[in-house]
């Protein structure tokens, strides 16, 4: 009988569809991955918090980063403030108010490069100007303070008071979950 003679062949599964899907997902994640575009010129060690909090939104958020300069890290490093707007359309009018110039030519930066600028270095005296410009440009903008945990509270306080002055009374403190 033919049935009895049947040889058992090695089991072979066609993995092509699985590999196809795998590559599709890989491409998807690679393209959507948002790498932490870390500001290389300052180092920020986020404070840790345990309570359940929300995630940092992607849009309508202005992030004020305060950290230690990495340039002269050996000595006492300077504390630098960076101001970043998430919405590309709001970047030009706000950064324009702060009169940023190209460090090479000394000319004001053009719109194309301002749109791509994620963060601008801010002097302490420009803080209020920046928040005022942001409030006028986009009242729905929310604010987040992204400060190093080892800093004196004074730096954060200055920012909170400037925000309070221009009516930005709800803001977020960026933390890292434990």
């Amino acid at each position: 009988m033919a049935k009895a003679k049947l040889k058992r062949h090695g089991f072979r599964l066609d993995m092509t569809p699985m590999v196809d899907v795998g590559f599709l997902l890989l491409t998807f994640f690679m393209l959507t991955a948002k790498f932490k575009t870390d500001n290389q010129s300052i180092s920020i060690v986020l404070p840790v918090a345990e309570a359940d909090t929300m995630k940092l939104p992607d849009l309508n958020i202005a992030v004020i980063s305060i950290g230690l300069s990495t340039v002269n890290a050996g000595e006492t490093p300077d504390t630098l403030i960076y101001y970043g707007i998430a919405n590309e359309k709001d970047r030009v009018p706000i950064y324009r108010k702060l009169n940023r110039v190209d460090p090479k030519t000394g000319q004001p930066l053009d719109d194309a490069s301002l749109v791509k600028t994620e963060e601008v270095l801010l002097k302490k005296s420009e803080m209020e100007e920046a928040i005022k410009a942001t409030r006028l440009q986009n009242p729905a903008m929310r604010y987040a303070i992204n400060a190093d945990k080892g800093l004196s509270y004074g730096y954060v306080d200055d920012i909170m008071r400037s925000m309070q002055k221009y009516g930005a009374t709800r803001f977020n403190l960026v933390t890292e979950s434990r």
Partner: protein, 166 residues
């Protein structure tokens, strides 16, 4: 890696006429690497967003919100990061960072109307502020209270005199 499948019956003669049947490549390593990358990207994309803690301040610092003394829980953080607490106008007591949560829990359980005031010196570490707000958030979540009743102010000379010698 790759193997050429040849027709059977090679030999010296067969070399000339060797038929190329097909190249078979072992794709296992490539697929392994692809899945490794896939896992990497999947894990990094989801867990990278930082957390935020919401804080609201009164719109104008000149406007005073009246709170009964007995409902006011004050934490003071001195320049050297030492923490003190008191209720109303009781004298402040020095505590460790770990005790903050216990005190908050006790007070908020006893009196849900408690308003917390964090008085922090400009020279104190920023992490201290986060710690206290975090403890408050934890305790409120535990007790099921949603209303955030806390404020942050800087310490003035009066506060420094009060706790300076402790």
């Amino acid at each position: 890696m790759s193997e050429v499948v040849q027709a059977a019956g090679g030999g010296k003669k067969g070399k000339k006429h060797a038929k190329r049947v097909g190249v078979r490549m072992d794709m296992t390593p490539m697929v392994d690497v692809a899945f490794l990358l896939l896992t990497f990207f999947m894990l990094t994309t989801t867990f990278n967003t930082p957390q935020v803690m919401e804080v609201s301040l009164p719109p104008d610092s000149k406007v005073n919100v009246e709170v009964a003394q007995s409902n006011l829980l004050t934490f003071r953080v001195r320049k050297d990061d030492a923490v003190f607490w008191n209720i109303g106008d009781q004298p402040p007591t020095k505590i460790t960072t770990k005790e903050v949560q216990q005190i908050l829990e006790k007070q908020l359980r006893q009196n849900p109307k408690t308003a917390t005031l964090i008085k922090i010196d400009r020279g104190a570490k920023y992490q201290k502020l986060i710690d206290i707000i975090d403890d408050l958030n934890l305790v409120q979540a535990k007790l099921g209270q949603t209303e955030k009743r806390f404020s942050i102010v800087t310490m003035d000379d009066k506060d420094n005199q009060l706790i300076g010698s402790l």
